[in-house]
């Protein structure tokens, strides 16, 4: 299809439209083809297409790269905790080798749907490699990070994948995660590396598990509190008879 422009030149849209239609795009019924709003809809459709993974419909590598750069900026400026998870399907090569690539594709699609089901609308799930996924979770406190990554792992393991021929495959994922350093301008590369290291750890520790690079814990345990006052046999800080209890605390 050619669209005439104001200066009598024309745009060749045939290839673009066939790409869009193949991806399930429908020309908006309320817009006249060839008009400016319709052209905008075509461009929006192409942008969407170029940011999605064809097999799973998740964000693709390109969209992920843009999103993680934005999140690094945001964390440096706002200081909110943000988590990056890397998930990799365990023994995926075996699935392909044993059941064929069509089965492999089904497994990838099923895992993708699982990941998307387990996160909040604000989180971004991307397919960044063959059987590798990344999830960016903005404003995610450490305690929630552990819950969500474990939830994903369990949900994938509990959901058998139906493949051609009526067979059902069980698959598992290994997940590694790292929190972005707060108030510090880090880099997407460094953040991804830290999450990848945890993924590697999850793989070497036996797969089907989650490993997170947690920020250091600073909670004071009962044991620590107990030890703080354990020496008070010879030194009692409150019931000392010499204490002048009438003296109030000084003004801060």
């Amino acid at each position: 299809m050619n669209v005439k422009l104001g200066d009598d030149s024309s745009l060749h849209l045939g290839k673009a439209l066939s790409l869009l239609v193949q991806a399930g795009w429908e020309s908006p019924a309320d817009l006249e083809p060839g008009t400016e709003p319709w052209l905008q809809a075509v461009i929006d459709g192409l942008c969407d297409l170029s940011s999605r993974d064809a097999l799973t419909g998740l964000a693709n590598r390109r969209q992920f790269d843009a999103a993680i750069a934005r999140e690094v900026d945001r964390v440096a400026r706002i200081g909110e905790p943000a988590l990056l998870l890397m998930a990799d399907i365990d023994h995926f090569k075996r699935v392909n080798d044993t059941w064929g690539h069509a089965a492999g594709d089904e497994v990838i699609k099923s895992v993708a749907a699982c990941l998307q089901d387990c996160v909040r609308p604000m989180d971004l799930v991307a397919r960044i490699g063959g059987e590798e996924f990344a999830i960016i979770l903005p404003n995610c406190p450490p305690a929630f990070g552990q819950t969500v990554s474990e939830r994903i792992r369990q949900k994938v393991a509990a959901r058998p994948v139906a493949i051609v021929g009526g067979q059902q495959l069980s698959v598992t994922v290994s997940i590694g995660g790292a929190f972005a350093p707060q108030w510090v301008r880090s880099s997407p590369t460094f953040w991804c590396e830290r999450a990848d290291q945890q993924l590697y750890r999850a793989k070497t520790e036996g797969r089907n598990r989650t490993c997170l690079d947690m920020p250091p814990l600073t909670i004071v345990s009962a044991e620590e509190k107990g030890m703080l006052f354990s020496g008070f046999g010879q030194f009692d800080p409150i019931s000392d008879s010499g204490t002048d209890h009438s003296v109030p605390k000084t003004t801060e």
Partner: protein, 266 residues
């Protein structure tokens, strides 16, 4: 970083020795201590600034009986120049005062953080010592204010709640800010030696449970006791520096000794 040993005028080439005063628990005497420590250091000939970093609920002005027309907030909002907000305080030191009841400054927004940092960097070359009087707790504003300083003085009292909060503060600072060395001062001490006992006790627990990011337990260096003394109450009520009202009292002597030890350990 070395502090001048004797009376030397501040030069622009030298950056101030910077110390944050923090405690975890409120009501242990941080502001009282900051003001009187500043006075004691000034008497040694040093040019000292106290920055009230308790941005939401500041009361260094109350302790010093000052009625500032210009505060840090006017500098933050561009209504005044930094120079106008640096005020002379009784005791021979300078203060940068914050306001009270300012909810928007009780959270560490990027703006608050950048403004605080800019101000801090620009005062550093003008003083020998900058003391940062932080708010209570371990909120992000407090932790950020502490992070600006090279050294930290943790102030505790012998009360178990204060000791627990001091310990938690030490743990947070060493794990999050890689602090391997912190000063400790114990206020409201009933018997000489109790402060040292508390320091040893804290050090034992720290060695067992706390590691900085580099894997070592932080060392607490004990700067001394400030004895429980009814003169303190009187000075606070009269809104005067203890060092000026009762320079010879036990608590004043305690503060002076802390200042002397601090200068010896630069």
């Amino acid at each position: 970083m070395s502090a001048p040993e004797t009376s030397t005028p501040a030069t622009t080439a030298r950056l101030a020795r910077t110390l944050a005063i923090t405690s975890g628990k409120g009501g242990v005497g941080k502001t009282f201590f900051s003001a009187n420590l500043a006075a004691a250091l000034s008497r040694q000939g040093l040019k000292v600034l106290v920055l009230d970093a308790d941005l939401g609920l500041a009361n260094l002005d109350v302790v010093l009986n000052l009625y500032p027309k210009i505060t840090l907030h006017d500098v933050f909002t561009g209504k005044a120049q930094l120079e106008e907000a640096i005020l002379p305080a009784p005791g021979g030191f300078s203060v940068l005062l914050a306001g009270s009841g300012l909810v928007e400054y009780s959270r560490l927004t990027p703006e608050v953080r950048d403004q605080l940092n800019t101000i801090f960097e620009s005062v550093k070359p003008r003083f020998d010592v900058v003391l940062i009087d932080t708010g209570a707790g371990i909120s992000d504003v407090v932790l950020y204010a502490v992070s600006m300083a090279h050294e930290v003085i943790v102030l505790a009292t012998p009360e178990p709640t204060s000791m627990t909060d001091a310990y938690a503060t030490i743990k947070v600072l060493s794990t999050q800010q890689s602090r391997e060395h912190l000063h400790l001062v114990v206020n409201q001490v009933a018997r000489p030696g109790d402060g040292r006992t508390i320091c040893n006790q804290l050090q034992q627990v720290v060695e067992r449970f706390v590691q900085s990011t580099s894997g070592v337990a932080p060392k607490l260096s004990y700067l001394g006791d400030i004895p429980l003394d009814s003169s303190v109450r009187e000075a606070v009520q009269k809104r005067q520096l203890l060092l000026e009202l009762h320079p010879g009292c036990a608590a004043s002597q305690g503060v002076v000794q802390v200042a002397t030890r601090l200068l010896a350990r630069s």
